[in-house]
Assembly symmetry: C2
Homo-oligomer: 146 residues x 2
DNA sequence: ATTCATGCAAACGGTTTGCACGCAT
DNA sequence: ATGCGTGCAAACCGTTTGCATGAAT
């Protein structure tokens, strides 16, 4: 099974060359249910048997970033950047402080609040980032067993 | 005018030694209307004529962090940590993408939304971080002149 | 006197970059 | 054939740490 051309058209549309690396990176991010570090992507590529270097991962991510195909976010408090497919749809995140998993949440009830802040501060708000910190379902369950 | 003892009691209460550096760092953060990088604090200390090293700034900040006197946040997308006085009160932030200034906003209308997410995802939410990105009043004004 | 804070320089870790080579177009 | 993508190693930069010195208690 060769799915190395899955993102050919997408890349072409952005005037980017269609390489196996870029295809695989996009595929990994697309399949992931959470934002990934460059390292996680690198390790997954290795796991899939690809020979790739860290710098290529970073360069591919930056290229995709510039074309707005992926989004970079710094959700966590360590200094590792996180990347996820730019799904256009606006998302919030739930971060479990115990297992460090990040869950994406669609939908956003903050439009009214944004408007009120714009009025109050003279700001023109173009976007926002909301992260909720807490304990996930699974960690709550395991905690009880300790 | 010597205000190097302004935070003496606060430090004592936390079993921390009362040093000029710590006092000055707390004063700088307290006077600032926005979260500061370690570098900004370092430069301000220099400006005030204090002889101090970067590592002392970082160590002081970590000490104050452990006592919950300051809060560390990673609002921006570069990899510089930001620090601000822990005013207890929950805050959101407005980040001007043009001048990179960060404005703190008190008040929070997200309690209901939190509850709905908790119910929907089985999460127990303990806190959250909300950053709004946009153009501030001042930059809008200067933009028109360009 | 004891314990903790400080300065310096070196280490650390995530990310970026220079350069020569290789592949997509 | 051309220009962009890649691998490697070294550089980079914010932050942390080891160690000897200095200051607060």
């Amino acid at each position: 099974l060769d799915n190395s051309n899955q993102y050919k058209d997408l890349l072409k549309k952005e005037n980017l060359r269609n390489t196996k690396h870029r295809n695989s990176i996009l595929e990994i991010m697309n399949k992931s249910d959470q934002p990934l570090t460059a390292e996680a992507i690198f390790l997954e590529l290795k796991k899939q048997g690809l020979s790739i270097s860290f710098s290529t991962v970073y360069r591919a991510l930056e290229t995709l970033l510039n074309k707005a195909l992926v989004v970079k976010s710094s959700v966590t408090d360590d200094n590792k950047a996180l990347y996820e497919i730019n799904c256009q749809e606006h998302r919030h995140h739930l971060l479990c402080v115990k297992c460090r998993k990040i869950f994406s949440v669609n939908g956003c009830p903050l439009k009214e609040y944004e408007k009120s802040l714009e009025k109050k501060y003279g700001f023109t708000i173009s976007s926002h980032k909301l992260v909720m910190y807490g304990i996930c379902d699974h960690c709550k369950a395991t905690k009880e067993k300790e």
